[in-house]
């Protein structure tokens, strides 16, 4: 479960996200839609404190993930990021073997037992439907995989840490249509076990896979949520005129 209360994100003096109050229910897929540059990705990365990596970034308001305050300085970002997996637009496996891609972070978080590690590796690769494709070449470089396989490996790598939440930043947009369909089916299959937030530019995809939708729009130079609710309601009867025009394809 993710909840934000009047969340604003600044880069230096520039406000990127303004006053976002948002709720993503557990075990559901929540899609975040809106035009480019309206703060969707910034919003997403404030949820697992990836904004910490940018020195000028500053967060106001409250983010609550699984009933804990994300901003709480007593909680380490590493611990937070273990429960909140993140998938990026461009598949970014490390330049190492498929096996090490998955096991590196698991080892870092304390699991050293080789048998356990291999078991985790197999189970997450099965979860993403990659096991049969790679089981004979786990020690080959992950960079030899196709784009779609790489993205599924990145999802498996995140799943290996047993997160409860997955943040996905346009996970299909750098993939060809067939790989994109495979990853989309995978995301659907992960629903219920994980709380999923997915940023997407593909409105048809948002409508196909999400249970809830939040729509961002640029207002006075910063992103705001102008519409949110159950997917079908939002798409068929949007309240906000801009959202209605955007979904109808006449704006944005």
């Amino acid at each position: 479960m993710i909840q934000t209360q009047s969340l604003s994100v600044y880069y230096g003096d520039k406000q990127a996200v303004r006053d976002v109050t948002f709720h993503a229910p557990a075990g559901k897929i929540t899609a975040i839609v809106g035009p480019s540059g309206c703060g969707k990705s910034t919003f997403l990365s404030s949820l697992n404190r990836m904004t910490d990596l940018i020195p000028s970034a500053r967060i106001e308001g409250q983010v609550i993930v699984n009933c804990c305050d994300v901003q709480d300085r007593n909680r380490s970002p590493a611990e937070l990021r273990r429960c909140v997996g993140m998938i990026f637009q461009k598949p970014n496996p490390f330049a190492m073997s498929i096996r090490n891609n998955i096991q590196l972070a698991v080892r870092e978080h304390g699991q050293r037992d080789r048998q356990q590690l291999n078991q985790i590796t197999e189970s997450v690769l099965r979860d993403v439907g990659l096991w049969d494709e790679v089981k004979d070449r786990l020690d080959d470089s992950a960079l030899k995989l196709s784009g779609g396989q790489q993205q599924r490996l990145c999802i498996a790598r995140a799943l290996a840490l047993k997160p409860s939440i997955l943040l996905m930043d346009e996970p299909c947009s750098a993939l060809d249509p067939i790989a994109s369909a495979t990853v989309e089916a995978l995301i659907l299959s992960l629903k219920e076990r994980y709380t999923i937030l997915i940023v997407t530019h593909n409105l048809a995809q948002a409508r196909r896979i999400s249970d809830e939708v939040a729509m961002f729009w640029m207002n006075d130079g910063a992103g705001e949520i102008i519409e949110q609710g159950p997917t079908e309601t939002v798409f068929s009867k949007p309240n906000h005129p801009i959202a209605a025009a955007y979904f109808a394809g006449t704006s944005g």
Partner: protein
């Protein structure tokens, strides 16, 4: 018109490249041609006699290698740490990192004879090392630090930001990220810097005359004095009448050593990089096509 301009420009660029390659080829061939007559196993295995006119250069090769070893042992860990610190300062324009970078730029432009005098005053006299392999090696370490730090820092910075984001999103510590992800990815660039540094160190004459000395006998320890090959070339060519042949032979050997060390450093780096990141060297090479 356009195609004529294009052809002219290609011709100019092409001939410039050919000219540079030709100069290198000429130097190499000339050294080999003049030096090969004096090259022999005795030359490699025996100590010099008659001020170097006869005999070999065995102790000089040993001194050269020892000086290089001292320089690298001192400079590599220091430059790696310094470069890692500088590369961390990705977003800051000013502050200590900026000052340190500018200082290194200035240091890189200091003539080597000044390093020699500094090394003499500091290592030989102030620290009491006298004329020794140790003092010479440490002076060379100071001299190659800027180039090592510079290339290492750039290698570390060139690692795709994607890797850093992926590592952070998995909750990896900065230490793990650095040693398992950033460093392996940067190793080929670091090796290229190392090759430049070794080249400069092996070629260095001025800095060593003041610090390692120029006696031709084999040093008994790091505290002993010894003559490097570059100093030997200088001495044979300038101070010893009829020493030209031996100078050319030593130069030919020095160039050959340089080429071998370069090839070894590059291949070691790609192997180490592959090992650290858990893939084969072949994968590293195929990476650019993926």
């Amino acid at each position: 018109m356009n195609s004529l301009t294009d052809r002219l420009v290609s011709l100019m660029i092409g001939s410039a490249a050919a000219l540079v390659a030709a100069v290198l080829g000429w130097v190499l061939l000339d050294i080999l041609y003049r030096g090969i007559g004096d090259l022999s196993w005795e030359f490699l295995a025996q100590p010099p006699e008659d001020a170097g006119r006869s005999g070999g250069i065995a102790p000089i090769i040993v001194s050269t290698m020892l000086i290089l070893m001292v320089a690298l042992i001192a400079a590599v860990p220091l430059s790696l740490s310094a470069a890692a610190a500088l590369a961390q300062q990705r977003h800051r324009r000013f502050g200590w990192a900026w000052i340190a970078s500018r200082c290194l730029d200035v240091l890189a432009a200091v003539p080597s004879v000044v390093f020699g005098l500094f090394g003499n005053a500091f290592f030989c006299v102030a620290l009491g090392m006298g004329y020794s392999i140790l003092a010479g090696g440490l002076t060379l370490a100071c001299m190659i630090l800027p180039i090592l730090i510079h290339t290492t820092e750039h290698g570390l910075r060139a690692v795709p930001a994607d890797y850093h984001y992926a590592a952070a999103s998995l909750g990896l510590s900065r230490t793990t990220t650095f040693f398992r992800i950033t460093l392996p990815a940067a190793l080929p660039a670091i090796a290229a810097g190392l090759v430049l540094g070794i080249g400069r160190a092996l070629a260095e004459t001025a800095a060593l005359i003041f610090t390692a000395g120029y006696v031709t006998r084999q040093p008994e320890s790091l505290m002993g004095s010894g003559r490097s090959m570059s100093v030997h070339i200088f001495d044979m060519a300038m101070n010893v009448p009829a020493g030209d042949g031996r100078a050319n032979a030593t130069a030919a050997l020095l160039v050959a050593m340089l080429l071998i060390i370069n090839a070894a450093a590059m291949s070691l780096a790609s192997k180490a990089s592959a090992k650290l990141s858990g893939q084969t060297a072949e994968d590293m090479n195929s990476r650019q096509y993926v």
